[in-house]
Symmetry: C2
Subunit: 128 residues, 2 copies
Amino acid sequence: MSNQRVVAAGGAAEVGAGCEPAVLREQPVTEAQAAELARVFKALGDPVRVRLLSLIASHDGGEVCVCELSGAFDLTGPTISHHLKVLREAGLVTGERRGTWVYYRAIPEALAALAEALRPATVAGAGA
Amino acid sequence: MSNQRVVAAGGAAEVGAGCEPAVLREQPVTEAQAAELARVFKALGDPVRVRLLSLIASHDGGEVCVCELSGAFDLTGPTISHHLKVLREAGLVTGERRGTWVYYRAIPEALAALAEALRPATVAGAGA
DNA sequence: CGTCTATCTTGATAGACATCGAATCAGTGG
DNA sequence: CCACTGATTCGATGTCTATCAAGATAGACG
């Protein structure tokens, strides 16, 4: 199979990419927007993944080695790897291999798009 | 049993209530914060619930009758009721019975707390 | 009180998911 | 080339969840 699976599969970034901002409270989201948002929210629907994302996103230098992440949990390597894959496929993080180690990095646009979706409506109808 | 189960069980609102703002990207969240955030994110991890919340939160007058919500989906009543219960227990919406009908209303603080958690760090270290 | 409508609860079932152990892949260094 | 370490994938398993049909509750209305 491919040799570089450690790459985002295009997910959350699309929520606020080329389309409307999709502000949840401004107008009803379309079925497609809801599906995309739910996909990303579901990725965050696990305490381990929330902590993983927080550890990655708040880390100095912007990237963290998997070995450092694994050490923060009472979970086996494969389980951490699984959770990182879910975050990757949701478009929230990317992983890059450097030598023996793999470094993860958050995707700010994806987090911004989510925050945007939850934001209060500008004035209550002024957004139209 | 009780007669007024249609009430929030205290969930998301606590994320940003009396404690720290818990900004995901500012510093690593605690295990408790991660658990609470994941609880709410999980509630949003379903396309039906995202649409339900959006329909409720963006509705003129701030409230929507269940009958109106049910009509927007190809799902049975019990299923819609189940999803509304999940949103309620996550602290994202409240339901109030008025006569034969039940009206749902979003809880702005809960949505704001979530958006806050995803917000970019103020300056990148200035928050310390 | 009986009936009708709207909503919720219960019970059952099929599918999804978190977790682990074992095996595999990628790179380093003898 | 072989052994070693770090990370991922594969396969299995127990638990959770989305959905529905059937039944129960709450209130309106005769």
